[in-house]
Symmetry: C2
Subunit: 190 residues, 2 copies
């Protein structure tokens, strides 16, 4: 029994090692630099070891994304709960979301832009993702008016996501970034 559990523990540790290495490599050099060979070298094992833990590279990326959802949810929660008043809460949550996307672009990409095989807008979605969305929903609630809260939250989220991705891909001028964010918030909080 003891030997078995030790092995399982070591296996779990190595799995975490893989996910962490993938995330760090992606964040420092971009996802293009995350090759199976490079990753294997980083964890000091040979390539096929990766495939004994994950079905393929996509599965590793998905695991990184799930890790990211937890981080994002925590930061959104902190922003919302420390704000004074509903108007400030919405602004702060939006600000925290934008800051996360700008500070960790590679992580953000795998969470929301790249095609990974994960359930999203369903009950099977990762719990951390649902918690993160819930933070945004709570911040939006006071401004829902006649609109359906779920739909409104999704729409604001989309607007935010669009602003951030178009900015980072060079489709929008950086100068207007903050002003556009302000317009988005103002139009959705009245």
């Amino acid at each position: 029994m003891s030997i078995q559990t030790r092995r399982e523990r070591e296996r779990a540790e190595r799995e975490r090692l893989i996910v962490t290495a993938a995330r760090e490599l992606a964040e420092s050099e971009g996802w293009d630099a995350v090759t199976t060979r490079r990753l294997a070298e980083e964890i000091e094992y040979s390539q096929p070891v990766l495939y004994s833990h994950f079905k393929g590279k996509d599965a590793i990326m998905a695991a990184v994304a799930v890790e990211g959802f937890a981080d994002l949810a925590a930061e959104l929660r902190a922003a919302r709960t420390s704000a004074t008043g509903p108007r400030q809460a919405l602004a702060d949550v939006v600000e925290a979301y934008a800051a996360f996307a700008e500070r960790r672009p590679a992580l953000y990409d795998v969470m929301f832009t790249l095609a990974v095989d994960l359930p999203f807008a369903t009950l099977q979605a990762p719990e951390a993702l649902q918690q993160g969305f819930d933070e945004l929903r709570q911040a939006v609630r006071p401004f829902a008016g006649d609109d359906d809260l779920e739909m409104l939250t999704e729409t604001i989220w989309s607007g935010l996501h669009g602003l951030l991705t178009l900015m980072r891909n060079g489709r929008l001028r950086p100068e207007g970034h903050r002003q556009r964010l302000a317009i988005l918030i103002r139009r959705f909080s009245s």
Copy 2:
């Protein structure tokens, strides 16, 4: 002189052939299927011929994108000019934009999502792109209010883009799609 011009004409024709083949292949089987070998086979020339026309695969994709900008601009213009009244014009332009993105996802991706080496939010941007953006700007103008028209247009565009990309990547439930679009328009046209 005549021989020279004939050669140039034939070269230009072949260049169009490459771009068209790339676009059609991408639209029918996705960008993953657009490999240089596959493309070469499609145009019935060998691989290196592609590199005598374009610097690399990215340049071919950029050329496809530019073609797409012209198509989109035409559709937006048609939508705007045939609408009755400013409110309808904005709704129709948004609708036309969404329809374009949904009908031609691969083309839309290379235009607005994938990283291609093209100037965007500057005077050096492709003319068709600027014309397309101008259609949206004209439709937004009546609703600018105190907001800067340019910024407001960019913000609406981003919202639209976010809704469409998150939808297509499975991050949003398809059921609410039209409702979310309606919320976006309503919040930005008052």
